[in-house]
Every structure is written in structure tokens, then in C-alpha cells.
């Protein structure tokens, strides 16, 4: 759908929702609709990012196709969400990845391949496939600077694109008061971290089908907290290495490995659950374009956990080098697509929630 058609169509549907309001108990999107009368691009982007795609409104609506009003809010907001991701990203060549999944795939595959080639060429097969053990084993395979410099570059670039996108989105979604109080931030953070609005207004979200269930909220929480535990594990390992001067790998019962393993297991279960749900999910309330992006993100998260755990399991064998390189390749792909994939929803949905709680004050 061309952009102008998208916003005109979103406005048409949202005006009907606003005349109905039966869904106001389901989620914040409908309560935010009620404080507006017409829906411009900024409003549509705001509502699109406030939407958690729980689909309760689709099954509750008596005006879904084939009714002539043809209301399908999850689908149109999903479409608008992708459009907003694209517009708020940078540079435009990469930002097109949101609409053309092959660009994202190309970007991720390219960086992964670079990691593997660099490892093989620079490290050489003999060192790569030799057994390594004891402190500094990882760096015996790939030197510390070779790991850290590209990683930090990619992450810093991602952060820069996120900051730029965050500022743009905040200005585009603005309506009403701008100042954000501490309590508002805490409420928004609580809603985001607890997935408070992924419950279909109480009984659970209607996903993967029309029966309300808590499954998606649980899987999503597993992914989120698993990712956070892994992040904490990495940070802790950094502290061990640079402040306590203990080189990895760390013992199985050391805090970084315990956190990392727990995080990896949660991430793996959560990502697998979400992929399974997405596979089974009703396509009627869905925007097809979103699926490739969602799958890619989930698969990368799952692979990150999987290769990490394989690295742990085989770290005393000659396979260590292979799995370490694979793990780094997957992480590189995950991080290069941070600003060009589904990862961005963490940023924009959080900001939309802040905006929502600001409006509620």
C-alpha cells in the first residue's frame, strides 16, 4: 500500500473505532484513540507503536471483513508500524530493510560471512581447530582486539541510529504535553517490562488464535529476561577481565557462566515458543510483511543462545574454535540488524508507552 493510502486507510478505520469504542477496555490504543478526532501520520505512528499486536480487537470487532466497514486494526497498525520503523531509521539504503527483507538478510549474512572469513584468513585453520584450554583460550583463537573493536563499532553505530530514531519518533508522535515526570517514566517502564498491555484487557491475548491465552506474554518475557541475563553475563565477564584481571573462559559455576547459561536457556525456549506461535498464528489480522522481519529477529536471538551454549559445552574440545566463530558471526548479524530489524520495537514501543502515560496524567 502506498504511504498516502496507508494513512488515509488508517484514518478511515480509526474514525470508525472512535465512533464505537467497544474495545476501550482491551488496551491503551483505544483509550488513546478517544482523545483524538482525526488521525494524522504522527497519530497513526504513535498508535501503531503503542499496539502490541495482541489481536483481541480483531476478534471482538463486528466490522471485520467481509463486513463493508472492513476494520482490521492489527493489520493496518502493523503496516504503519513497519512504515514508522523505516522512516525513523537511517541511512535510507539500510532502512529499506524494513520493507525488503532481502536487504536485512543480505546485511546480516554479509557481516556473518565477514566474521567467518576474517577468522579463517587471519587466525588460520591450524589455530582455529586446535584445542585450547585455560585462561585466555578464547583469545588464543581470536585476539581480543579483533573481537572487541568490530563489536564496539557495530554497537556504537546501532546506538547512534537508535538515538536519532528515538528523537525523531518522539517528535513525530507528540501530541499534548511534552514534559515527562519521574512517576510517568516508572509507570511506562513497568508497563513495558511487565508487558502489561499484552493481555487483551485481562483474559490474555488472542494469539495464536481467537482463544485468549497467556502463552505469548510468557514466551516474550522469557526472551526479554533471557536476553537481559545474557547481557548481564557479558557485562560481568568484562568486569572480571578488565577489573579483576581474570581471563575467560570462567568456571561452570562462576557468576558469568551461570547467568549466561540461564539466560541462554530462557532465550532459547522463549524464541522457540514465539516462532512456534507465529507459525500457527491466524493470518487474517496480520500484515504479511511483518512476518519475515519477526522470524529473522527471533531466529537470530535463538541462534545467539544456541551457539553460545554450544561454545560452552564444547569449550574444552577442538570444536571450540568453530563454535566460537559461529557464535560471534551470529552476534555480529544480530547487532548489525539492531537498527534495521524487529529489535527497534523495544525502543519505539517503550517511547509510545511513555507518550501514553504522559497523555494520561
Amino acid at each position: 500500500m502506498a504511504d498516502t493510502d496507508l494513512f488515509a486507510e488508517a484514518n478511515r478505520q480509526l474514525v470508525i473505532c472512535n465512533a464505537c469504542r467497544y474495545c476501550e477496555g482491551l488496551c491503551p490504543v483505544f483509550r488513546a484513540i478517544e482523545t483524538r478526532r482525526d488521525f494524522g501520520k504522527g497519530d497513526v505512528f504513535y498508535l501503531a507503536n503503542l499496539c502490541h499486536d495482541c489481536r483481541a480487537c480483531y476478534y471482538a470487532c463486528m466490522f471485520t471483513p467481509p463486513h463493508e466497514f472492513a476494520i482490521n486494526i492489527p493489520k493496518i497498525l502493523s503496516d504503519a508500524r513497519i512504515e514508522s520503523y523505516k522512516e525513523w531509521s537511517w541511512p535510507s539504503l539500510f532502512a529499506r530493510a524494513f520493507k525488503e527483507s532481502r536487504i536485512a538478510f543480505f546485511l546480516g549474512a554479509l557481516i556473518s560471512l565477514l566474521v567467518v572469513i576474517a577468522a579463517v584468513v587471519l587466525v588460520g585453520p591450524s589455530r582455529l581447530f586446535a584445542p585450547h584450554a585455560g585462561p585466555g583460550a578464547f583469545y588464543a583463537i581470536i585476539p581480543y582486539p579483533a573481537m572487541v573493536v568490530p563489536a564496539v563499532t557495530i554497537v556504537l553505530f546501532g546506538i547512534a541510529v537508535w538515538i536519532r530514531g528515538g528523537i525523531r519518533s518522539w517528535h513525530e508522535m507528540k501530541d499534548g504535553p511534552q514534559s515527562v515526570s519521574g512517576t510517568t517514566l516508572i509507570r511506562a517502564a513497568g508497563a513495558a517490562l511487565g508487558l502489561r498491555h499484552l493481555q487483551g484487557g485481562g483474559p490474555g491475548c488472542t494469539y495464536p488464535d481467537e482463544r485468549p491465552s497467556s502463552g505469548r506474554r510468557i514466551y516474550h518475557s522469557l526472551v526479554f529476561w533471557g536476553f537481559l541475563l545474557d547481557f548481564a553475563s557479558t557485562t560481568l565477564a568484562y568486569v572480571y577481565q578488565d577489573f579483576l584481571h581474570e581471563l575467560p573462559p570462567y568456571p561452570v559455576l562462576s557468576p558469568p557462566v551461570i547467568l549466561g547459561t540461564l539466560g541462554g536457556v530462557l532465550l532459547l525456549i522463549g524464541a522457540a515458543g514465539l516462532i512456534w506461535f507465529k507459525w500457527k498464528s491466524d493470518r487474517a489480522p496480520a500484515e504479511g510483511r511483518a512476518y519475515a522481519m519477526d522470524y529473522a529477529f527471533l531466529i537470530l536471538l535463538g541462534l545467539t543462545a544456541l551457539t553460545g551454549m554450544l561454545t560452552l559445552i564444547f569449550r574444552t574440545t577442538p570444536a571450540l574454535g568453530t563454535f566460537l566463530v559461529l557464535h560471534l558471526a551470529v552476534i555480529a548479524a544480530l547487532f548489525i540488524t539492531v537498527p534495521y530489524g524487529k529489535f527497534v520495537h523495544a525502543l519505539y514501543r517503550s517511547l509510545a508507552l511513555v507518550r501514553y502515560y504522559v497523555e494520561r496524567e
Binding site: C20, R21, Y22, R37, Y59, G201, G202
Partner: protein, 462 residues
């Protein structure tokens, strides 16, 4: 032996309440829903809340609402019920509904500060009536109730006052399905324009039917033909003002307009015809459908100006807009001269106050015009001016079959059929004679659905 203990004809709230209640008593219950699955649920699809009496405030009700007050409201707004005992029964039984409905899967909306805040008397379904139906259908399936969609019951076989079978229309033929008892919960005849024409003449061509196109009254006609006793005025219905641009059927809630108290309403002759500032909200809501039905071409316009255009619930259709009254008149189908004169006369009759406090009747009425506007009468003088076209939007008809205190359908002579029960719109005329109370249709459907289902299953076993 019959294949089923109870057959329920219909697929809305009353039908599902009946089927669920019957299933608690008897194992073999069949629902025959005429609509395809995506359209299941009759007019309940378009509902939002239910009126229930209750002794104390709770999570969902802001304050107590006694059975007596419920009954007073009912009598106050709708006149005297045809059967006072049944009216008392509804208000008494309504106290038990929230729990019963919750037990069968219905989720409720937490009270929010919204435009339609009826938090004291009505409970709101989370996500509206279709969500409620989805929950009931899921529960019915879990309980082992058989459900058939796109199943049109053409006729009933009744011998010696005893129901034998339903006649189901199938592809190119008919199928008889036997049962020990039947509950008819198939709605009124509101979607049958030809039937409405018997009482309204060609005016009915201009009616907009707010709900399902499937309620053509074929079951009601079948019951009358078998000798069931009619109850209720055939012209009586629940009808409100809807936007004239609404679809002929199934436009539901989004086409309703409640801008009336903010401005004035004129017919196509350009004349006002009723007090737009009447105080009682439920009455205001439910009276305009009938009023517009009596106007030429069943058409009217609510006229407002820049002062009030943003104050009511934003409508689905944009209003007609013009910078002068003359230009507005040419955009809409009214007599221009009379229209402008009506506005002048109205403006001169206002006190000059320009503030409307809608929370309560503000006593700011017109002087010296007929009909008056008894509250919220402020001049319509600030351009741009706006017009919203109105037509009668029929929700459901009241004339139906008379029932006894167990939900059984009565015959002309006053004796009941042995095992034929009715619930919902099709028997609403036992209580409703005119006017409407918000959320009361669902109360009738739930109370009499549960009663009919339970009694049909119990009776059918003996």
C-alpha cells in the same frame, strides 16, 4: 428416541444462554444458528453492556441499584409492562446474571472514564457483545453442545400442542431434526422490511436496520401460524437516530448519533418537530428513531454550529459543513426559506447564554416557540454550520409471543404449548411496550434464555 433433548433455534445471547443452561440439565443440546459462523450471534454482536440490579457497589458497579429501582426505571421509561410479574422476575433474576455469565466465560471491562458512563446500572462486556458471544460459543463447545451454522429453520412440526421436530432447510431439500423440547430465540422481525411495511407502509423502505439481516421473523411467523398468542404493539420497537448514510443493515453502534441535545433537529420541510432538550437521557436516546420515522421521507437533520461541533462523540460520517445557513440548506435536502426562518426563530427564543453544561439538565430553555427546547438551548450562530442527516435506526421489534412464568409459549386460548419455549427479542413484548432502557435487551435475553433452556431441558426429560 429423539436425537436431542433440546434444540435451540437462534445464535445470539438468548440462544446461547438457553443452550448453556439446558446443557447443565441434559446432555444432548443442539444450536441451530441461521447465520454463517462469522456472522453468528444475531443482534447481540452489536451490544455492549447489560443492565443488572445489585445490592452493593463492586469492581464493576459504582453504587447499588436495587431491584425496585430497576423496575421503577423500566416502568418510568417504557410505560407499563404487558406482564408486570415477568418484569419483576427480570429485575429480580438480573442480580444473579453477572456471576452466571462470568462462570460461562464472560469477561468484564474495568470501569473507565468514558463518554458513555453508565457504571451504576450496567456492566460492560470486555470488548463488547461479540467478545461475549465468542466466550459463550467457546464454553458451549467445551460443554459438548453441538453447534450448526448457516442452518435455517423453516418451520416447526407441532402436533397436539407438542413440539416434534424442526424443519431445517438444506441444499435442495429439507431435514427433520427431532428433540424433546425447543427454545425459539431467533430474534424479532426488524430485518423484514415487508413485514414492517404492514404497519408503517412505504416509510419502512427508509428504515435503517442496525443489526443482523437474518432477523426476518420467520420463526415468529411460524409460531403465530401454529396458534401462538401475540403480545405487544406491532409498531413498537427500539429505534434510535442513526446517520442517514449508514448501511441498510448491520451498521451497528458506529452510525448512531447523539448530537441532538447540542443543537436542533429539523425535518426536510425545514421545521423542528420535537423538544431536543428533553431531560431524561434514556428517553432521549430511544425516542428519536420513532420521531424521525414519522417525518416526511423519514429524514431529519441535526443542526449545530462551530461552538458545539467538537463536543459530542465523534461520528463515523463527517457532517455537512457551510459558512452560512443558506449554503448549508443547499447542501442538504431541506426547504431553504423555512430552514433559515426556523433557525432565526430558534435563536431569538434562546436566552442568549452560550454555555451548555451537559452533565445535567441546565434549565436553559427557549421561550415562546413550539416545540420548545427545554434545556441546553443556545443560539446556533457561529459559523461554520454543520448538519448531520438522520434516519430511524431500528434495533429490534417488540411484538412477539406471549410466554408463561416458565418461559413456555402460550396459545391463543391461553394454554401453553407443552414443550415450546421462547427467549430474547421474540418475547420482549411481554415486558417492553414502548421506549427502551440501555442494556435491557441483554437482560431479557439472559434471564429468559437461562429460564427457557433450563425448563426445556427439565421438562423434556419427563
Amino acid at each position: 428416541m429423539n436425537l436431542f433433548d433440546v434444540i435451540v433455534v437462534g445464535g445470539g445471547n438468548a440462544a446461547l444462554s438457553a443452550a448453556l443452561a439446558a446443557r447443565h440439565v441434559a446432555p444432548r443440546v443442539l444450536i441451530l444458528e441461521r447465520a454463517p459462523e462469522y456472522m453468528r450471534g444475531g443482534n447481540s454482536r452489536h451490544t455492549r453492556n447489560i443492565r443488572c440490579a445489585h445490592g452493593s457497589a463492586d469492581e464493576f458497579f459504582s453504587a447499588p441499584y436495587s431491584e425496585e429501582e430497576f423496575l421503577e426505571d423500566l416502568i418510568g421509561v417504557t410505560g407499563s409492562p404487558a406482564n408486570l410479574d415477568l418484569a419483576k422476575f427480570v429485575s429480580r433474576q438480573s442480580t444473579k446474571l453477572p456471576q452466571w455469565m462470568s462462570e460461562h466465560g464472560v469477561a468484564w471491562q474495568q470501569p473507565l472514564a468514558g463518554t458513555l458512563s453508565l457504571g451504576r446500572t450496567n456492566r460492560f462486556f470486555l470488548g463488547g457483545g461479540k467478545n461475549l458471544l465468542n466466550a459463550y460459543y467457546r464454553t458451549a463447545q467445551k460443554m459438548g453442545i453441538e453447534i450448526r451454522y448457516s442452518s435455517f429453520v423453516e418451520d416447526l412440526i407441532i402436533e397436539d400442542d407438542s413440539f416434534e421436530a424442526v424443519v431445517l432447510k438444506t441444499n435442495g431439500g429439507r431435514e427433520l431434526i427431532r428433540a424433546n423440547a425447543v427454545v425459539i430465540a431467533a430474534g424479532g422481525y426488524e430485518a423484514n422490511i415487508e413485514w414492517l411495511k404492514r404497519y408503517w407502509g412505504d416509510s419502512a423502505n427508509n428504515f435503517i436496520i442496525r443489526g443482523t439481516p437474518y432477523n426476518d421473523g420467520s420463526m415468529l411467523a411460524a409460531l403465530f401460524e401454529k396458534g401462538a398468542k401475540p403480545v405487544g404493539d406491532p409498531k413498537a420497537f427500539h429505534a434510535i437516530a442513526v446517520d442517514a448514510r449508514a448501511p441498510k443493515f448491520d451498521g451497528g453502534i458506529v452510525t448512531r448519533l447523539d448530537a441532538t441535545p447540542f443543537g436542533i433537529v429539523v425535518n426536510k420541510l425545514g421545521r423542528r418537530f420535537y423538544d431536543e432538550g428533553e431531560a431524561i437521557w434514556p428517553k432521549r436516546y430511544a425516542i428519536w428513531g420513532g420521531l424521525i420515522a414519522a417525518q416526511p421521507d423519514q429524514l431529519a437533520y441535526v443542526i449545530i454550529d462551530a461552538k458545539t461541533v467538537g463536543r459530542f462523540l465523534p461520528p463515523m460520517f463527517k457532517p455537512y459543513q457551510a459558512d452560512s445557513l443558506e449554503c448549508l440548506a443547499s447542501l442538504i435536502d431541506v426547504d431553504r426559506g423555512t430552514f433559515v426562518a426556523t433557525l432565526r426563530e430558534f435563536n431569538c427564543a434562546t436566552s442568549g447564554k452560550t454555555e451548555q453544561r451537559m452533565e445535567e439538565p441546565d434549565g436553559n430553555g427557549t421561550r415562546g416557540i413550539n416545540p420548545p427546547k427545554s434545556n441546553w438551548a443556545i443560539p446556533i450562530d457561529k459559523p461554520p454550520f454543520y448538519a448531520l442527516p438522520l434516519r430511524p435506526g431500528i434495533t429490534f421489534t417488540y411484538m412477539g409471543v406471549e410466554i408463561d412464568e416458565t418461559g413456555r409459549v402460550l396459545k391463543q386460548g391461553g394454554r401453553p404449548f407443552k414443550n415450546v419455549y421462547a427467549a430474547g427479542e421474540i418475547m420482549s413484548g411481554n415486558i417492553l411496550s414502548r421506549g427502551y432502557l440501555a442494556g435491557f435487551g441483554m437482560t431479557i435475553g439472559s434471564v429468559f434464555g437461562e429460564l427457557a433452556g433450563r425448563m426445556a431441558a427439565t421438562n423434556g426429560r419427563h
